[in-house]
């Protein structure tokens, strides 16, 4: 379980670093609008929240991979009477 958590959290973190670098090289936080009104947090705050948001999406992506890579026997185990492998 702890290892799966590593697989989920870590790749997202790793990719969030270049992603946040690229995004904020191209877009100035000054130009950002949130539901039509200018964002009223400091630049540092925008970068931080941007980083955390991208990280969260990355982790979500990894979590989905973890979920989908389980084999049918692993998913069915104990449900339809197949013996535990």
């Amino acid at each position: 379980m702890a290892r799966q958590l590593m697989w989920i959290i870590w790749p997202g973190f790793f990719m969030a670093i270049p992603a946040v670098g690229v995004v904020f090289s191209l877009f100035d936080p000054e130009d950002l609008h949130f539901f039509g009104s200018p964002v009223e947090i400091s630049h540092m705050g925008v970068y931080t929240l941007g980083f955390l948001l991208i990280w969260a999406f990355g982790a979500g992506c990894s979590a989905m991979t973890c979920l989908l890579q389980r084999t049918p026997p692993e998913i069915n185990r104990g449900i339809d009477g197949t013996p535990d492998s």
Binding site: F14, P18, L26, H43, G45, T48
Partner: protein, 487 residues
């Protein structure tokens, strides 16, 4: 061949002199080792950390020498100031880093992991603190086995206290590369750090403490992508930590002055030192494994034993698959370093470095963006002339002020082309940008309509006080619109 590791006696003095050997448990207690490679590891730990903790405090031109100023979106790298428009150099740096990694992985394996990776470096420092507080490997294992006592609690508290202090300092230094560190130090001293800065100091500090104090080799084994694709970069001529099986086997214990050959034994005395010193807890004698971070601790450990036994060093050494199999000497092995793979990596790397360096060298510290005024396309003024409106974004990326003249040129179809703007030359302060509105007037030839290409040239008009630079000139193209007759 014996697979299990068994203790042997180096100095068979008596039954009480047995060297205990512990099985590898879940928690790894690496034994400290000294030797040539350990010396290099220590050197690199000190060098990288002096650079990391120290560089943030260096000054240049009255500002922090290395500062990635996220708030004003400028990167100060000693004499260089990079703007978001210079993104390409950052990309080049990433490409150079990746290619360098491929190159020296192909040549000598995971040098990065063993010597320079922050994970290794901080683990080394944290283990050093642990050794100072709790004692050597045997004492640490004994302490962890003890019931909780005042002494144990004190030692653990001291260790974690030192770890946390170092981790917080590391986090603080990290943030100091993004927010001027002297200002940050002042805020930290009065407990008035901003919320985001506090978050990053704690976050980075926590990551350091967790990774170097608790997770250690698990980061390399389960989290690092580099370890997983190392096999793609290795070939039989890559230098890796290798156990010389032919020389070592059959392994087994023997007396110090025993004739190994007479006993039918190889040079491996099966002392298990190579396993004890391994930070990832593997047995290198089983061959190259993905867990091996190439730190060469086992090389140092084994060489010490070989010396005690009076054998030649290098039973475990940096070598290549081919060299071990074919019994090559060092020179023969090194000659294979110049193989196509390595040469190709070197050439590509050299080209990228030269290109990026050249681009950086001829880079004009002046940027101009021409934006046509969207509100009014074009209008006719008094004497039949057409007027277009433009906004020029002029960025002076140098750390000295400059004065600039703006001029306009175009095709011969546009007569009396002239520019109307605020009084020139226009002064722009050091490392700053200005938006300048200009009007361009022209009289179109043959009464034609449509778009004509025009060029704006922004040129430094500095006097001696402003340090004249002949080369400081940028030309940007734009379009001059001439409305049709239906206007």
């Amino acid at each position: 061949m014996v697979d299990t590791v068994q203790p042997i006696h180096f100095h068979p003095k008596g039954p009480g002199d047995e060297q205990p050997l512990y099985e590898i448990r879940k928690k790894i207690y690496p034994r400290a080792v000294s030797g040539w490679f350990a010396g290099w590891r220590l050197t690199l730990v000190v060098a990288t950390q002096l650079a990391f903790y120290g560089t943030a405090w260096l000054e240049w031109n009255g500002r922090q020498a290395l500062l990635f100023d996220l708030v004003s979106r400028k990167f100060y790298i000693f004499g260089l100031v990079l703007w978001p428009q210079d993104f390409i150099y950052l990309t080049a740096l990433l490409v150079i880093s990746a290619l360098s990694l491929f190159l020296f992985t192909a040549v000598a394996g995971r040098l990065w992991c063993g010597y320079a990776c922050p994970q290794t470096v901080y683990t080394e420092i944290f283990m050093w603190i642990e050794r100072v507080v709790e004692g050597d490997r045997v004492r640490r294992m004994r302490l962890d086995g003890e019931l909780l006592s005042v002494r144990k609690l004190g030692l653990k508290a001291a260790k974690h206290g030192l770890w946390i202090a170092l981790a917080l300092w590391t986090g603080f230094t990290f943030v100091g590369y993004f927010t001027p560190i002297r200002q940050l130090a002042g805020e930290a001293a009065t407990f008035s750090l901003g919320p985001w800065e506090s978050f990053w100091v704690l976050f980075y500090g926590f990551a350091t403490y967790g990774n170097a104090g608790w997770m250690r080799e698990q980061v390399c084994k389960y989290m690092c992508p580099y370890a997983r694709f190392q096999s793609a970069m290795f070939d039989p001529d890559t230098m890796v930590i290798t156990y010389d099986r032919q020389r070592g086997e059959p392994r087994g214990g023997r007396g110090r002055h025993a004739d190994a050959r007479a006993l039918g034994l190889g040079d491996c005395v099966d002392c298990g030192i190579c396993v004890q010193v391994c930070p990832t807890g593997i047995d290198i004698r089983k061959g190259l494994q993905y867990e091996c971070i190439g730190c060469a601790a086992c090389v140092d450990g084994c060489n010490q034993v070989m010396k005690k036994m009076g054998y030649a060093p290098g039973l475990i050494r940096y070598s290549t698959e081919n060299a071990v199999a074919k019994g090559w000497n060092f020179a023969q092995m090194v000659r294979r370093m110049l193989r196509p793979r390595v040469l190709i990596y070197t050439v590509i790397l050299a080209v990228v470095i030269l290109a990026a360096g050249a681009a950086l060298l001829v880079r004009v510290p002046l940027k101009v963006d021409v934006i046509r005024d969207r509100a009014s396309l074009a209008r006719e003024v008094d004497d039949g002339q057409i007027e277009n409106l433009y906004r020029l974004q002029v960025v002076n990326t140098e750390e000295i002020a400059h004065r600039f003249n703006i001029s306009v040129s175009g095709s011969d179809d546009l007569k009396h082309l002239k520019i109307i703007s605020e009084s020139q030359p226009i002064e722009i302060g050091p490392v700053s940008a200005r938006s300048i509105m200009v009007r361009v007037r022209a009289e179109p030839e043959h009464d034609r309509s449509g778009s004509e290409r025009i060029f704006f040239t922004v040129k430094a008009a500095d006097d001696e006080k402003h340090m004249l630079r002949e080369t400081l000139s940028v030309t940007e193209k734009s379009v001059f619109f001439i409305p049709g007759h239906g206007r």
